[in-house]
Subunit: 401 residues, 2 copies
């Protein structure tokens, strides 16, 4: 009996990663190796990144060469097929729960844009306004308004309108998409979704009904205006690894429906300013840099909140150097400072105690401001007409060119 | 312990009435009084039938004056409002699980046609092809084919195309209808649907997701092409009482969404030829009269299978008379022999032993053949173009005239 309680205690301390919660074990860091083991995905190693470079004849994205996208499922098969001349399509999405996106939200879209350009393939982007209505205290109208606002930020990432279809679930569910939802739902027991998502009997059936909605954009037949007669087209999903449970379920079901399993390429979480214990929280404004933040706000947040691996005094710092493993400025630079040589230099000098936290943070403020400023300019140019155009249900005749 | 087992045994013997199973207690008859108590609906008494006659200036339908539609929820409120000049709309439906309908399937449609004519109100008819795909071993294509075939039988009941919209879920789910599905789903916990429908953890989530689909045609906002700006229009649902659980759930949820509760008018089950222990089974061809049966088939089925309340010998029959309470021919005549005087005469003579089972069955064969023959002729005149016209998503400008 005692042993059993101990076990429960141990389990409670385990890290939690699912689409609604990301919590490191006991205030520590997310253990990504453990996550790969638990989820059963594969590590994305250097040889795969090299292969992408070779196949696309362009340098791999910073997120690929720096291991931000660190795990995958069958990405190698997508590349095998691509090498044989077989195209694929990309699928990613967003739950529109907040007006302003933070940098963490942009990661999958920035990377997806690179994949679209590099492989010259079409892309579907799902805005799960139904999910947000089901999980948050929002009206349908507000969910749909946020979906359109978020679509502007997504479009600002530079997607090619001739290859990209953005849709809101509330607008698009129906027809072939609904048929696939029902097909998927018929293959998944309630016990199964409880095992995957941890629903309880007190959860409403809207939650229980939702997983098929996120599953079916993985199947080309859900988009008859895009992929008629191409039911075997493979799908590659770039996403943060907390979305893996949805696609584990999808991959489980696919063969029973005679469909191809979607492949995945999965990212680390973008850490909160306060430290790498989970992903950023949309509810704590000071835990993240928003794409709407001014230079002043970015500066204040980085200077005040970015967790430092530097030592407590100048003397100690000079002696021991910074602990780069926990330093958030270094983590952020790893995501956004493109120049490999400069990053190496900073890490070396800061780690050796010859560079101080203030200097690193100053450089980070510049880098982040540049990213945010570029995004702000691009978003300002996105009109309502462009949103309508990206979201129009239409064929994309040149999507594979 | 013993007592508990006894209790379980007793519970197992209770009658079961839900959308997928109708079973009388221990081989006996369905106890409709108990059902009214358990479900919490109201008995439809003579005064309500009289009121319908007065308000519509036409004799009440045979199913109303003979108590076939025997229970209701808020039907009196619908009549109150109608008396004040407020219209309503009708909603009924069918799960298209088989090609040929039997007479039991026609009951709600025959009655709905009368209500549409009498009250001059619009009607929506849901074909739950998604439900049948989820519950039966059918492909989506086959479910949709059956839905169209069944639509022909429904149209053959004589509905007014200027007031009637028939839809298949697979075709129609989306937009405002899907939004209402998600709204309903958010209000109902998994525990709640388990309580209402008896789902288990091994049931697939398609079943758990379905109740909102059958719920939302109760809300006018699910049909923006029909009832724009009429979100307060009340809905009256004629159906067999096994569908009550869906609408108990719907009525529970409606006020929380700011919607009107649908009213119901609910029928007995049309008994199987073999006796009144449940409703007819589509899987036993000899338990029911199908609308495709020939005169010969009807004759054979009635003569061979219709359970008789007559006595075992001519002598005993002349002495004791028939037991009308269990005699299926009398039950069927009660549904379909329009002439009240003739029915009374048959019951009196048969009950007194002056008329014999063979004579009653002969008359029943004539009556049923006439119903079936009339239906067959009407159905033969229903073209694919008419099905398309009834199922077209369109406004109905004269639906309240």
């Amino acid at each position: 009996m005692e042993n059993k309680e101990d076990q429960n205690l141990l389990q409670e301390e385990e890290q939690v990663v699912n689409p609604w919660e990301v919590k490191a074990k006991d205030g520590g860091k997310i253990d990504y190796d453990k996550l790969i083991d638990k989820f059963g995905c594969q590590r994305l190693d250097q040889s795969l990144a090299d292969r992408v470079q070779r196949l696309t004849s362009r340098p791999p994205h910073i997120f690929l060469r720096r291991g931000v996208f660190f795990a995958h499922r069958d990405f190698n098969e997508i590349l095998d097929a691509y090498e044989r001349g077989d195209k694929f399509y990309l699928y990613t999405g967003r739950g529109p729960s907040s007006e302003a996106l933070h940098l963490g939200h942009l990661i999958p879209f920035m990377f997806t844009k690179y994949l679209q350009d590099a492989f010259k393939v079409p892309l579907v982007i799902q805005l799960t306004d139904d999910e947000k209505f089901l999980w948050k205290d929002l009206s349908i109208e507000e969910s749909q308004r946020l979906a359109r606002e978020n679509a502007k930020d997504i479009i600002a990432c530079g997607f090619d309108i001739s290859k990209t279809f953005i849709f809101s679930d509330f607008d698009y569910v129906g027809g072939a998409f609904y048929k696939n939802m029902v097909k998927v739902a018929r293959c998944v027991t309630y016990n199964k979704v409880v095992g995957i998502f941890g629903f309880t009997g007190e959860d409403h059936i809207g939650k229980v009904s939702f997983p098929p909605v996120q599953a079916v954009p993985s199947f080309p037949s859900s988009f008859p205006h895009l992929f008629p007669g191409k039911d075997d087209l493979r799908c590659l999903i770039p996403c943060a690894i907390d979305q893996d449970p949805y696609f584990r379920m999808t991959r489980d079901v696919a063969p029973r429906l005679g469909y191809q399993k979607p492949a995945l390429i999965e990212s680390l979480f973008f850490p909160a300013l306060q430290g790498e214990t989970g992903k950023m929280s949309a509810s704590d404004k000071n835990s993240a840099i928003y794409v709407t933040d001014s230079f002043k706000e970015i500066e204040t947040k980085v200077m005040s909140y970015a967790f430092s691996g530097g030592q407590d005094s100048k003397e100690l710092h000079s002696k021991y150097g910074a602990n780069l493993e926990v330093d958030i400025s270094i983590k952020y630079l790893n995501f956004f400072l493109e120049d490999d040589a400069e990053l190496e230099h900073i890490k070396k000098e800061y780690g050796a105690g010859r560079m101080f936290t203030g200097q690193v943070k100053n450089r980070l403020v510049e880098v982040l401001n540049e990213v945010v400023e570029r995004h702000r300019r691009a978003r300002a140019a996105v009109t309502d007409e462009m949103v309508d155009a990206f979201m129009a249900v239409r064929p994309l005749p040149n999507m594979f060119d």
